[in-house]
């Protein structure tokens, strides 16, 4: 499903060359729940950006669902994000001017789904995350946990093959964070591929597979054997 072949990402900061990713080779298969863990500056965010098709590698090949996406253009990447990926962010990243329903509809809008169908799908995923009664609320009227549920619903709305969660519990208290993680485990059991990016071992432990990144390299991968 996700296949990294010797991925390098190099940033030129003035005269210095920063190797954010330094030769990563990685396989994540369908229905896996994997956690990418690392300290800040380890390269895990860069890794997630590339997995999420927000960025392209400097060197190496990235195959997503068998398609080489290493040198696609902006708009082609946007289309892949829209159809294949669902994002869950630490800061929820809901659009404050739009209500819950409109936020959840957004990926479908860019997919070109008709309005009537969009509402049906959005309502369905809101029901799934248990927050359908808040559909007309504005994000600012919701608690952190509720906002994160809305953002999960938004990630699910486009029916993506991969859900990418960047520190999904980072802004939540322990209890709510646990609930969110349990919900993600449930989603995984239902057959969704989930990738967690975190610096927190307690969070990473919820995943079946832990990939540890340090200095742009994979230093530990609990699932490598299983993947083979």
């Amino acid at each position: 499903m996700i296949r990294f072949e010797n991925i390098h990402k190099i940033y030129n900061m003035g005269e210095n060359e920063v190797r954010a990713l330094d030769g990563i080779t990685l396989d994540i298969r369908e229905k896996e729940m994997a956690a990418i863990i690392g300290q800040s500056g380890s390269g895990k965010s860069t890794c997630m950006n590339i997995i999420g098709c927000l960025d392209v590698p400097t060197e190496g090949k990235y195959y997503l669902n068998g398609r080489d996406v290493s040198d696609l253009k902006d708009d082609e990447l946007a289309e892949i994000r829209n159809k294949t990926l669902g994002f869950i962010f630490q800061q929820y990243n809901l659009i404050p001017k739009l209500n819950v329903l409109e936020n959840v509809e957004l990926p479908l809008v860019y997919k070109g789904v008709l309005e009537k169908d969009r509402i049906d799908i959005a309502m369905e995923v809101l029901k799934k995350v248990g927050i359908e009664e808040k559909r007309n609320s504005m994000p600012s009227q919701l608690s952190g946990g509720q906002q994160q549920r809305v953002s999960i619903a938004r990630a699910l709305a486009g029916n993506p093959s991969i859900i990418l969660a960047d520190e999904p519990t980072g802004a939540l208290d322990t209890k709510t964070g646990q609930e969110v993680l349990e919900f993600m485990q449930q989603l995984n059991e239902e057959g969704n591929t989930i990738i967690l990016i975190t610096h927190d071992m307690l969070v990473a432990e919820k995943a079946k597979r832990i990939i540890r990144i340090s200095d742009g390299k994979i230093v530990e991968d609990s699932g490598r054997e299983a993947a083979k």
Binding site: G52, L54, N82, I95, K97, P107, Y110, K111
Partner: protein, 391 residues
């Protein structure tokens, strides 16, 4: 992302900061309103002037004779012959001899203008006589001292009583009043009501010269006025052999000249008003740039969810165009209202031009799109990673 959605979103973000939206629109409102006001007033003015000229007859050709050497005059027989020889083009003619005079009756006196004409003049110029009759052929033939007077003079010299059959003195000699003209301009001094018509034969004597300096000739068909003028000019050239000895003009030519003049004045004024539209556009661009920066994160979120460049582009351009077109609508309404009020206050007839309204609206939409393009492009080109991280 379709148009309807972008439009809804634009309305939403305008509503969320009404004061800012209003101030952004203000430049466009002022620009559009001033264009509408100016066009309405200029339109009204030129309609007024046109109708004034038209009342003198669009098929009227004026011949002025300056003369050349010893051959200084155009005899009436020659005009008559020309009209008779060209029945398809020329209809009627009248000499026109004017003189400034003093008219007196008892102790009342007035300075006025005497115009010497023949019996065709009233029909040619659509002059109506309400009381008595107009100058007739026999009056001119016999050099009768008769006159037709305007309502202003009825008031000034006859204190409003019926003057027909009475006499008045023009530069000292007695004339009998045979008719009163219909009131056309509220009986004001120096207006169309401050006038005396007498037979042209009598008038040449009064004016102290034996010659007739100008003629009015009517064309059969106002649409063939140019051919008709050519015939008149040819005849005059055969008489004088010199193009500088006479001048042939037509009312429709005058109307064209006046229209051209008012149009070019209007164009200059509208051009100046148009500058404020451009300034308004820059205001929109400025606010859109601020808005793009403020919404960097939103742009990042939209991009992460799969918005393409054109989706982001469209959203911001539609927002800018919505702002400017709303400004345009407000400006149009304000401009029409102000033009109406100005018309009443300044006693002008204002004629709003629907063309101008349509153009003003289109221009304001276009300004939004043009000045929204740069900020929208900036938004569309944002890198989603940086945009998501933006606080």
């Amino acid at each position: 992302m379709n148009f309807k959605q972008s439009f809804k979103l634009a309305i939403k973000s305008l509503k969320s900061s009404k004061m800012r939206a209003f101030l952004t629109m203000l430049g466009i409102i002022i620009g559009v309103a001033s264009v509408i006001i100016l066009v309405s007033i200029m339109n009204g003015l030129s309609k007024d002037m046109t109708s004034r000229f038209e009342s003198m007859g669009t098929n009227t050709i004026t011949v002025n004779v300056m003369g050349r050497g010893t051959n200084r005059a155009l005899a009436i027989e020659e005009v008559e012959k020309m009209v008779e020889e060209n029945p398809d083009y020329l209809d009627r003619y009248s000499p026109r001899v004017t003189a400034s005079v003093t008219a007196k009756r008892d102790v009342n006196s007035a300075s006025t203008t005497v115009t010497g004409v023949n019996e065709s003049y009233d029909d040619m110029q659509s002059i109506a006589v309400t009381d008595g009759r107009f100058i007739q052929y026999i009056d001119a033939e016999r050099r009768q001292k008769v006159c037709v007077i305007g309502t202003y003079l009825v008031q000034e010299l006859f204190d409003g009583m019926d003057p027909v059959g009475e006499t008045l003195k023009i530069n000292g000699s007695a004339y009998m009043v045979i008719g009163v003209l219909e009131e056309t301009a509220d009986s004001e001094e120096s207006s169309g009501d401050d006038i005396i018509y007498i037979p042209y034969t009598t008038a040449t004597r009064l004016a102290g010269s034996a010659t007739i300096g100008s003629y009015y000739i009517t064309a059969v068909d106002a649409d063939k006025i140019e051919n008709t003028m050519a015939i008149v000019e040819r005849t005059l050239y055969s008489v004088f052999g010199d193009e500088d000895a006479y001048r042939v003009t037509s009312m429709s030519e005058m109307i064209d000249t006046v229209n051209e003049m008012t149009n070019s004045i209007a164009l200059v004024l509208v051009g100046i008003a148009g500058i404020s539209l451009v300034v308004g556009g820059i205001g929109i661009m400025n606010i859109m740039l601020v808005s793009v920066t403020e919404r960097t994160r939103e742009i990042g979120i939209r991009k992460s969810l799969g918005a393409k460049r054109k989706d982001i582009m469209r959203q911001f351009i539609i927002e800018a165009a919505t702002t400017s077109s709303m400004g345009g609508v407000v400006g149009i309404l304000f401009g029409l209202g102000a033009a109406y009020v100005a018309g009443i206050l300044m006693d002008l007839s204002v004629a709003p031009s629907w063309n101008a309204v349509f153009i003003a609206f289109s221009v304001s939409v276009a300004i939004g799109m043009i000045f929204g393009y740069f900020p929208a492009n900036k938004a569309a080109k944002m890198n989603p990673i940086d945009a998501l991280r933006y606080d």
